[in-house]
């Protein structure tokens, strides 16, 4: 129950105003990101037609009959001034028509959604696992400070946190795939399997990229969680609780956890926001065809529709997750009045 008091009705009108304001800001942010990404993408140097038609055909047509080149440009909506294309692009977005990919001649929507599925297959378990591990280890290290776990984990996570993800990915790849041949080198599935075998096969392919992702995220979550627990442990109300003779474990679960999890939840929401963008580095090293990977190839192949779609999707997801973070914060922390 959000408001413990009936006496707070007069707040509801103010509440509605705040929510409205919040939505406006979010829509504004999305609009801003869409515009910025459109401008950035379309002003990119290099003629996208080169990638659409392929090198030799592009040069041949460019020299033999340039008007044909113009005609093809029109077909792909690359003609007209930036303004016109922008208006057309906005119109398309509202009609949820994201156009046709330049390089893979399939509709952008089903390419990106297909890739999104694979990014989520990797990112969602990674975020959940790292949230769990980060929290468990962080709480234990924070509560039993200078205990065995704390003395090992703190320096270790500090060091692991500074190793760039692509380096850890390379090391894992070398060790587990090349040398010990425990896991496949790349790709997402070995094909020709259905049902249970297919699932197991995909899980087998997922192991390495997932463990690299979980490792790097757990480290940062651990450090955050530990600092929150230490902070809360020093609060006065914990001293009161101990003074009341509340046993140590109950102090941890009833008082410390709830207060420490509050800021932790906000970071998790932010991480959920970044899920959609996928981790470019891990997806490139393990050639996991997710959003990060397709974004990387789209940029080098200057495939405008896919890039714009990726930016849009990430923006929407980030904004949704920041709203989620705010709402969660209000629900969990009664001290916050306005959303």
């Amino acid at each position: 129950m959000l408001f413990p008091f009936r006496g707070f009705e007069r707040d509801l009108s103010m509440k509605r105003k705040i929510i409205l304001n919040r939505l406006l800001i979010s829509l504004g942010t999305i609009f801003l990101i869409v515009t910025i990404s459109f401008i950035l993408v379309n002003l990119m140097p290099g003629d996208p037609l080169v990638n659409i038609m392929g090198d030799d055909q592009y040069y041949r047509v460019k020299y033999s009959d340039p008007e044909l080149l113009e005609e093809i440009a029109k077909k792909y909506g690359l003609d007209g001034s930036l303004g016109e294309r922008y208006v057309k692009y906005l119109g398309n977005i509202l009609r949820l028509d994201f156009g046709f990919s330049f390089t893979r001649n399939r509709s952008v929507l089903d390419i990106v959604l297909y890739r999104l599925r694979w990014t989520l297959v990797l990112a969602v378990p990674a975020t959940i696992l790292s949230a769990l591990f980060g929290a468990l280890l962080g709480i234990r290290a924070g509560w039993y400070q200078n205990g065995l776990l704390d003395r090992i984990m703190t320096p270790l996570t500090l060091v692991l946190n500074t190793i760039p993800t692509n380096c850890t990915a390379i090391l894992f790849l070398t060790l587990f795939s090349y040398k010990l041949r425990l896991f496949p080198i790349s790709g997402m599935a070995s094909g020709g399997l259905t049902g249970g075998a297919y699932i197991r096969d995909v899980m087998w392919h997922m192991c390495l990229p997932l463990s690299v992702m979980v490792l790097s995220r757990t480290c940062s979550n651990f450090i955050h969680m530990k600092s929150y627990v230490i902070q809360v442990k020093g609060e006065e109300y914990i001293l009161t609780a101990v003074a009341k003779g509340v046993p140590k474990t109950k102090v941890l679960f009833r008082h410390v956890l709830k207060n420490a999890l509050l800021p932790y939840v906000t970071i998790l929401c932010m991480q959920f926001g970044h899920i959609v963008s996928g981790s470019v580095m891990i997806e490139v090293v393990f050639s996991w065809v997710g959003m990060g990977n397709v974004m990387n190839t789209a940029i080098s192949a200057s495939d405008f529709p896919i890039m714009q779609m990726c930016f849009l999707l990430t923006a929407v997801c980030m904004v949704v997750s920041s709203i989620l973070a705010d709402v969660l914060y209000v629900l969990l922390d009664p001290r916050i009045k306005e959303v």
Binding site: P4, E236, Y237, T240, A241, K244, G245, P334, R335
Partner: protein
């Protein structure tokens, strides 16, 4: 009821000087004692030492007998059964002594849940009774409120209710009036009157509050206990020059003295009496030797004047 014998506290991490030096205090059953002292005089540290709530870096010597058992020698588990049940500590009302994310009723009823095995619902119902005892008003509503919704004074009342929830006979209150304005302080003083039969040791820097609450008054300065007497004796004729200075500085008595009451930094390393540098009655002896704690017909004082 509670017998504090020669308790000293030293923090290994801090400088060599102790935070509390050789304090002895006996609280009779049902009596209310007020401990006056400026910040940094070690009064709060004493309270925490009694409850063994100090961090691990603190070395506590001496003994604290609660109905015969020495709290300082108990293990953490044993202490857990005693804390909140037979002796309870009330932190300052002003700060966030209450868990911001837990309703008041639950926090007050918690000792009942842990010590008396109450169910949550029963404990909260009992907390309503406790609040009513302190005349909080609209107790059913406030029980479901969160700490930030209560005013400073109301929070202090809730704290006191929490202290006696499980029926503990000895209550240690740490600066209950901190951060409160005048009429709130009066309200808190009344609360302490509502206590029936609990032994109270209240630490404060507000002399008026000490007067209205305490039956016995003690004074601490620079980690040492300077004076201990019944209230009437202390206020009529305070023996120690520091006590006299405190009383003279009160507005009711015409702000006669203004000597600055917090101990200077180097006061701790002085061989003799730590108040010597400001004492108008100082003589040669005060500088060389530390004055003992002399009992002048039940009125104890640490000053060479009264050495026979």
């Amino acid at each position: 009821m509670l017998d504090i014998q020669n308790v000293s506290v030293k923090f290994s991490s801090a400088s060599e000087v102790g935070a509390v030096e050789d304090v002895s205090l006996t609280l009779q059953k049902g009596t209310k004692t007020a401990l006056i002292g400026e910040t940094g005089s070690g009064k709060s540290v004493l309270l925490l030492a009694v409850m063994k709530l100090l961090p691990a870096t603190a070395e506590i010597s001496g003994s604290v007998l609660l109905e015969g058992t020495d709290l300082l020698s108990l293990s953490e588990e044993e202490l857990e059964t005693i804390r909140g049940d037979r002796i309870s500590y009330i932190p300052q009302g002003g700060g966030n002594g209450l868990n911001p994310l837990m309703r008041i009723g639950m926090q007050i009823g918690e000792p009942l849940i842990d010590h008396r095995g109450y169910s949550k619902k029963k404990a909260i119902a009992q907390s309503v009774e406790l609040l009513r005892r302190f005349r909080l008003g609209k107790e059913e509503t406030w029980v479901r409120a969160y700490p930030h919704m209560l005013s400073g004074g109301m929070r202090q009342r809730a704290m006191i209710a929490m202290g006696i929830a499980a029926g503990s006979r000895v209550i240690l209150a740490d600066e209950p009036t901190k951060g409160l304005d005048q009429d709130r302080i009066q309200g808190v003083a009344e609360c302490f009157q509502y206590l029936q039969g609990e032994t109270l040791l209240c630490v404060t820097h507000d002399v008026n509050f000490a007067a209205s609450v305490g039956e016995y008054i003690s004074v601490m300065y620079a980690a040492q206990q300077l004076e201990y007497a019944k209230k009437e004796a202390f206020f009529e004729h305070p023996l120690h020059p520091y006590s006299r200075a405190i009383l003279d500085a009160m507005p009711e008595r015409g702000l006669k003295s203004n000597i600055g009451f917090a101990p200077p930094h180097d006061a701790y390393s002085v061989k003799g009496c730590r108040f010597s540098d400001r004492c108008p009655y100082k003589n040669k002896l005060c500088d060389e030797k530390k004055p003992p704690f002399i009992d002048v017909k039940g009125h104890k004082v640490r000053c060479w004047q009264y050495a026979d």
